[in-house]
């Protein structure tokens, strides 16, 4: 199978709906300046596959929802003394929700949409072709495609590559155990 494209809606630094297609390319490279949102895109891929927020540089799912005011629409001045309690105001309307969906073509050539939604209260839902499913149904379908979220052997986060070589013998056994 292969990943055809992604839709990010209010996910991290991506405001509103952003469609990103990989087309028929087998090797896609993502480039951009520091802080532009490259690792956030990888977080979106990891999130839609079922990874929990602590592996996405966040403490909870709400952190993953886009926060930010469009420059110029509100009075920016009162932002300067922004502290944590103001965060809600800062995001403008605190009631945003967010989702990431991935269009995936299975090895039999069928297109499936995996979607994971974050509600404004921080709870997440899993959907396959828009139909609500449980987390284990979701990850079972991914397992059929050899996408093993527990092993994470196909995702290398920024700054982690050297740790993989130096990981302990126990960790390596765990990975092989999950895979086999």
């Amino acid at each position: 199978g292969r990943l055809i494209g992604l839709n990010l809606y209010n996910f991290k630094s991506y405001r509103g709906l952003n469609r990103i297609g990989f087309g028929s390319a087998n090797f896609t490279s993502i480039m951009g300046t520091n802080g532009s949102g490259k690792s956030n895109l990888m977080d979106a891929i990891s999130f839609v596959l079922g990874l929990q927020s602590n592996s996405l540089r966040s403490t909870n799912a709400k952190d993953l929802i886009y926060r930010g005011r469009v420059a110029g629409t509100d009075n920016d001045d009162d932002d300067d003394d922004m502290d944590n309690s103001d965060k809600e105001n800062y995001s403008g309307d605190g009631s945003r929700n967010a989702y990431v969906s991935a269009i995936y073509e299975t090895s039999e050539g069928e297109q499936v949409q995996f979607k994971r939604v974050i509600n404004s209260n921080g709870s997440t839902e899993y959907r396959i072709n828009e139909k609500l499913v449980t987390m284990s149904e979701y990850s079972d379908l991914l397992k059929d495609e050899n996408i093993l979220i527990k092993a994470k052997n196909f995702l290398v986060f920024q700054g982690e590559v050297e740790k993989i070589a130096a990981q302990s013998a126990k960790e390596l056994t765990n990975i092989i155990e999950i895979i086999s």
Binding site: G1, L3, I20, K38, A165
Partner: protein, 165 residues
């Protein structure tokens, strides 16, 4: 349980050396380095640990802690690709894995990806180095749209440019 574990271990153990050689071969060392896995407990391996050893070309040490930053990155990638060869996931996402690599290693990694990328093995690679992203089939450029206070993405299919080096 033992059978499954052993099957995985044997497969990965056989492929790690070839992959490592492919990632470390150069004009100076046409054979590349060598890499292998050992079990700390032969009889019940899933209770023990698996040790990974790699020796860059022209070097003789096998302990991981003596390797340099770049040497470790290459060893790690070889291990990941070897694990993948046993039960291939459909795609890989790599975030600046080339940060510690010198130009020669970046080129070897890029060539390995170009050679192994296929409809059943898709690579999505975040990189700041042009000698890596130039070799991709397609580029996704991420930028910050200041007015909207948001990240944006544009996609460019490089295969349309016939003179792609």
């Amino acid at each position: 349980r033992f059978r499954l574990f052993d099957e995985a271990f044997q497969h990965i153990s056989k492929s790690i050396d070839n992959i490592y050689k492919e990632l470390t071969k150069s004009k100076v060392s046409p054979l590349g380095g060598s890499a292998y896995l050992t079990l700390s407990q032969e009889d019940e391996p899933y209770l023990g640990g698996i040790n990974f050893h790699s020796m860059p070309p022209t070097k003789r040490f096998r302990e991981m802690n003596l390797l340099s930053g770049g040497e470790k990155s290459i060893a790690a990638l070889a291990l990941l690709f070897a694990i993948h060869s046993y039960k291939p996931s459909p795609f890989f996402v790599l975030d600046e894995v080339d940060a510690a690599l010198d130009n020669a290693n970046v080129n070897r990694l890029a060539n390995y990806i170009v050679k192994n990328a296929s409809p059943t093995f898709q690579f999505i690679v975040i990189s700041l180095k042009n000698s890596l992203f130039e070799k991709a089939d397609a580029l996704v450029g991420i930028y910050r749209e200041q007015r909207l206070n948001s990240s944006k993405a544009v996609t460019l299919d490089l295969r349309n440019f016939s003179d792609k080096e």
